[in-house]
């Protein structure tokens, strides 16, 4: 079987399109590359969806935590502590069994017990908490002069937030937020190893990698392939976030622009 044929059969296997049966023996390199790559679709889906939705909740949480009103501050603080203080792995388990028991009483929660929605909700809440904390830190380090200048121009409330506070907050938080995004993509590999079932063997990249490792009893091929895909993904994220960083900093003189040096500070 040629490699092109394999790609046609298994390229979209993680979505349930193509060949139904996974290869059973005599795995070729091509098969391993194709299937693990196919699984990356799920990692990218979870990562992008959670980032896109979590961003808004994170902004709200940061503003809430920085608020002087106790009724806004306390819930935000507790939410952030709850999701940052406990392991994502346990959150997945808890959420799955929670949805499972909800489903027993209300059948409309059926979709929540499948990974595409249930796990996404957990990832959304989790990344919102982590990014919320990052944004909160940035919010507190906005230069006082910026706010005073906005006041001098007569800006208040929403206009001041939208045009001064928020862009500056993003600009300051961006390097840390990039880091968070990378860790979020890494965390998506946990989904199918917690309770969420990989229905009809439609799993993510790590699911297929461990499938191959279990079948061949040889971890030295599938895991490096997985590592290759993830390093590629990390580079793409760094590049994409770097472009946005450039745009956020475009009004500053070149010398003052914060160069995005990708540094792993262990935010998670």
């Amino acid at each position: 079987m040629s490699c092109l044929q394999t790609i046609q059969d298994y390229g979209l296997r993680s979505l349930g399109i193509g060949e139904r049966l996974l290869p059973k023996n005599d795995f070729t390199l091509c098969e391993q590359f194709t299937l693990i790559g196919s699984g990356m679709i799920w990692n990218v889906y979870f990562g992008i969806m959670a980032l896109a939705t979590g961003f808004f909740l994170a902004t709200a949480l940061a503003v809430g935590k920085a608020s002087t009103n106790k009724w806004l501050r306390k819930p935000s603080e507790w939410f952030i502590f709850l999701f940052r203080g406990s392991p994502l792995f346990i959150q997945f388990f808890f959420a799955y069994f929670f949805f499972l028991s909800l489903k027993k009483s209300y059948p409309m929660f059926d979709a929540f017990t499948s990974a595409w929605l249930g796990a996404l909700i957990v990832l959304f809440l989790n990344t919102a908490a982590y990014s919320g904390e990052i944004f909160y830190g940035a919010l507190r380090s906005i230069p006082k002069g910026d706010i005073e200048a906005a006041d001098a121009y007569g800006m208040t409330g929403w206009a001041r937030f939208r045009r001064i506070v928020w862009p500056t907050m993003l600009r300051l938080a961006w390097p840390a937020y990039t880091n968070e995004a990378i860790f979020l993509f890494h965390a998506t590999t946990l989904v199918f190893f917690s309770a969420f079932p990989a229905w009809q063997q439609r799993g993510d990249a790590l699911y297929y990698a461990s499938y191959f490792a279990d079948k061949t009893f040889n971890p030295f091929v599938p895991y490096p392939i997985l590592a290759f895909y993830f390093i590629l993904l990390t580079l793409v994220i760094v590049w994409g976030f770097g472009m946005i960083n450039k745009r956020l900093n475009r009004h500053l003189p070149a010398a003052r622009q914060t160069k995005m040096r990708f540094k792993l500070n262990l935010a998670r």
Binding site: N25, F81, L82, R84, G85, S86, P87, L88, F89, I90, Q91, F93, F94, F97, F98, L100, S101, I182, H186, A187, T189, L190, F193, A195, L206, A209, S210, A213, K215, T216, F217, N218, P219, F220, Y223, L226, A227, F230, I231, T234, L235, L264, N265, L266, A267, R268
Partner: protein
């Protein structure tokens, strides 16, 4: 332990819950918490030692050694840690068995990898097929500790390398001016001063390590996640009937609270440590402490 646990009438009452304290299966659950704490207690210093060696290697002036250290640090950046966990558990096991095979059975000529099988001679099996169960469990736990230490050692190496570079360069130049050798400068000047710079990163790492402990479950250890799944479910492989419905949700809620407690306690402890270390340091934290006491 409690005599009323033998009486079926207690089933309906609240007192029944205290019987969970005494049965053997639940004791395995409670003991698995000790397993987690044991893993933390052993892994943290070992990982720190790995990290220290990694950082030293990365600073080395001998290029291959420095590449090795930097590669070790860099590899954790791009790849999910859980992939490392799954990889190292098999890879280490095979590495040990392969080494023993080469030493113990030199007359064996068959290839070790035959298709999908990894075959070593009987004497090289780890643990031996005749070993009692506790040896198997200890070996599994030992593999888990090495795996955790390798992965977190890389994180620690990154932090310590940063801490070493944060020590003001003038300090090292002064040491050189006093005629200290490179080795003396490193041990007497650099190492004592780097901790305060490395501590924020290390305390962060400790938090990450705590939150990584449930991954023990993936390494095949019967840890708290394993028992929560087993005991919370209505049926298990060994017992077909439990006096309750699906309680897995509540068991995991309990684990969630356990971890939140661990986080809170560590936060408080680390804050105290940071205050202690910042005392008298020429950092903004130390300055803050000075103002507090003089004001």
């Amino acid at each position: 332990m409690f005599s009323y646990c033998a009486d079926p009438d207690t089933l309906g009452t609240f007192r029944w819950f205290s019987c969970y304290l005494t049965n053997g299966v639940h004791w395995s659950f409670y003991l698995s918490f000790l397993k987690v704490l044991g893993l933390l207690a052993v892994t943290a210093p070992v990982a720190l030692a790995f990290g220290f060696m990694g950082a030293m290697a990365a600073r080395s002036h001998f290029p291959p050694l420095s590449w090795l250290g930097k590669g070790y640090i860099a590899i954790v950046r791009g790849v999910p840690d859980i992939a490392f966990f799954l990889f190292f558990v098999i890879a280490l096991d095979q590495a040990f068995e392969w080494t023993r095979h080469k030493i113990l059975c030199p007359e064996w000529t068959d290839p070790i990898r035959q298709g999908n099988d990894f075959i070593v001679c009987q004497a090289a099996k780890l643990p031996l097929g005749t070993a009692p169960e506790w040896v198997h469990e200890t070996y599994g736990f030992f593999l888990a500790i090495i795996t955790f230490s390798i992965v977190f050692g890389a994180f620690a190496a990154n932090v310590l390398f940063g801490g070493m570079r944060a020590v003001p360069h003038a300090q090292l130049e002064t040491a050189e001016a006093y005629g200290m050798t490179r080795r003396q400068t490193f041990w007497r000047i650099l190492v004592p001063q780097m901790w305060v710079y490395a501590l924020p990163g290390l305390s962060n790492l400790w938090m990450v390590l705590i939150k990584a402990t449930p991954l023990l479950f993936l390494l095949g250890i019967e840890d708290i996640v394993y028992w929560a799944r087993e005991l919370g479910g209505t049926k298990t492989s060994r017992f077909t009937q439990y006096p309750h419905g699906d309680w897995r949700m509540w068991y995991f809620l309990f684990l969630l609270i356990f971890y939140l407690g661990m986080t809170r306690v560590s936060e408080i402890g680390l804050e105290k440590l940071m205050r202690k270390l910042s005392h008298g340091q020429a950092t903004s934290g130390g300055e803050l402490l000075r103002k507090e006491t003089t004001a």
